[in-house]
Symmetry: C2
Subunit: 314 residues, 2 copies
């Protein structure tokens, strides 16, 4: 049996092994992913983004407990290197998460924070696929920060939660600046501390400034307290409503098509580049071109044009 | 005269115009950039990264004033959408920056926060080139956050400043988690508020945990107060020392070679993809492939393999 078959048979170790192969960009991982492809497409991938300290991990912990009560199997992919899920954080947090670490219907994995951003986005997308094929119903992707880059990674998700907390001016600034269009549900976490009403009012006002055509999803603002365990069931309901909206409106088809297109074109680019480096560019030729660019004997645009012309004229 | 010639003649409006073309990914921008290429390579590009609220913009403002005293011409590229340089922030900050906005030897530009991250990284790199050819001696690239993605963008820089402030636990966590290897100079800004010594001690300890081979640059920890205007001249000295190190050690050559390689390969990929979409894939064929992938009749890996094989067998 190969890795993919082991995974389809429910072998957790095989899942961990394949994710490592994916992270190492091993050619073997592609073989296994291509086998798994036909078994994907059932999971609801949920992105969770927000600044450090807003309680994303605790919130995911509570949501996971709620989904488990509903009989759902859960996968958690943490990209935040300071997340308790990655083991990089405070011991106390890890202990609070202990119940999840020992539940065999929950699979938790943190992605290495080394490597290029493109690499992390790709590893995350592939890991979500693996967990999907492995039978997880709900897959959380936790990314740090409310920056553009994290949103980029979170686009792998079908539903994006943007988590903030009362009184964090910076978060609100960040939300103002560009995330408003991307988030499907805004979560004011730690809603037991002062400033919750202002944060809610602010978010609602910002959302009201945007016009949503009839029939389009209007982002919701939800309040939760991971420590008091309030608002969690309501948030699960809101996530479910968003999925129903995606299905009813047909938007899910457009989202999946766009994801497939981006992935396919990235694979084509990657394969073409590999082929060029291995078969088209002669040994030492690349180094020579780079030297000429640095010495400003040729500009990179013309050099790339020349190469591509040669590739397709041969 | 074309845009590039206008820029080389010192026309600010032409600079702004070409940056807009770059942001719009216009084919014309490539023509102009290829003309400018031979005029680049003189600027010292300095990345400035740090969480919102740590005072990056004020610090860049003070550094700019210091460099202007030394007769240097300065370019500022802001990617942080909440930066006062982008006009998105508080009026007070903008007023404090006013002196720079009216100095004709300073060029300030904020990059749009829309578009993919790869797109922003490319626009930023091209804008740095334009400002370099325009004759700026010092070019600051301001990125928000201390996340992996921002570091990715900041890699365009020859010297990277990581800005933090006393008592911000999250920043320290973030630094611990992966930036330590990337920063050349760590700046504790707002060093007039309590907690400065602890932050300094912590950073020094973290740096001492890493071993730096003899002759290698060991990151420095500097203290500044943008509001009291202290530590600024010392920081400029440290930046200068880093540049001298890069030159003396020959590391600058390796850095420029790597940057050229990444840029060249990205251009090759882009051109190849364009050619494939325009000449190789037949009309409707791409949509058909995407549909088959979504319906799980074929996996994207095999589909990409098939296409690339066809391209190079023809």
């Amino acid at each position: 049996m190969n890795l993919a078959e082991h995974i389809l048979n429910g072998d957790r170790k095989a899942v961990a092994k394949l994710i490592t192969l994916v992270e190492n960009n091993s050619p073997e991982s592609i073989k296994q992913l291509s086998v798994l492809h036909s078994h994907c497409g059932k999971a609801h991938v949920i992105g969770v983004t927000g600044a450090p300290g807003c309680g994303k991990s605790s919130l995911i912990g509570k949501l996971t407990a709620e989904y488990r009560k509903l009989g759902k199997r859960v996968g958690i992919i943490a990209i935040d290197p300071t997340s308790p899920f990655t083991g990089g954080a405070f011991l106390g947090d890890r202990i609070r998460m202990q119940e999840h670490f020992t539940d065999k219907d929950i699979f938790i994995r943190s992605m290495g924070s080394r490597g290029s951003l493109g690499g992390i986005a790709k590893s995350t997308a592939d890991t979500a696929k693996i967990l999907d094929a492995f039978g997880k119903d709900i897959i959380f992707i936790e990314t740090v920060g409310a920056g553009q880059a994290d949103v980029e990674i979170a686009k792998i998700a079908l539903t994006l939660l943007v988590v903030t907390m009362p009184g964090s001016g910076d978060d609100v600034q960040a939300i103002k600046a560009g995330i408003l269009e991307t988030g499907d549900i805004f979560v004011i976490n730690k809603a037991d501390i002062p400033g919750t009403e202002q944060a809610e009012l602010y978010l609602e006002q910002m959302l009201n400034l945007t016009s949503y055509p009839a029939g389009k999803w209007k982002p919701r603002v939800m309040k939760t307290s991971a420590s008091l365990n309030t608002g969690i069931a309501e948030l699960v309901d809101a996530i479910q409503s968003h999925m129903e909206y995606l299905k009813k409106s047909g938007e899910i088809g457009a989202k999946l098509r766009e994801k497939a297109r981006v992935e396919f074109m990235a694979l084509v680019k990657q394969n073409v580049t590999k082929y060029i480096l291995e078969h088209v560019i002669k040994k030492g030729e690349l180094e020579e071109t780079i030297e000429r660019i640095i010495k400003r004997q040729i500009d990179p645009y013309s050099a790339a044009d020349e190469l591509v012309e040669r590739i397709f004229s041969e």
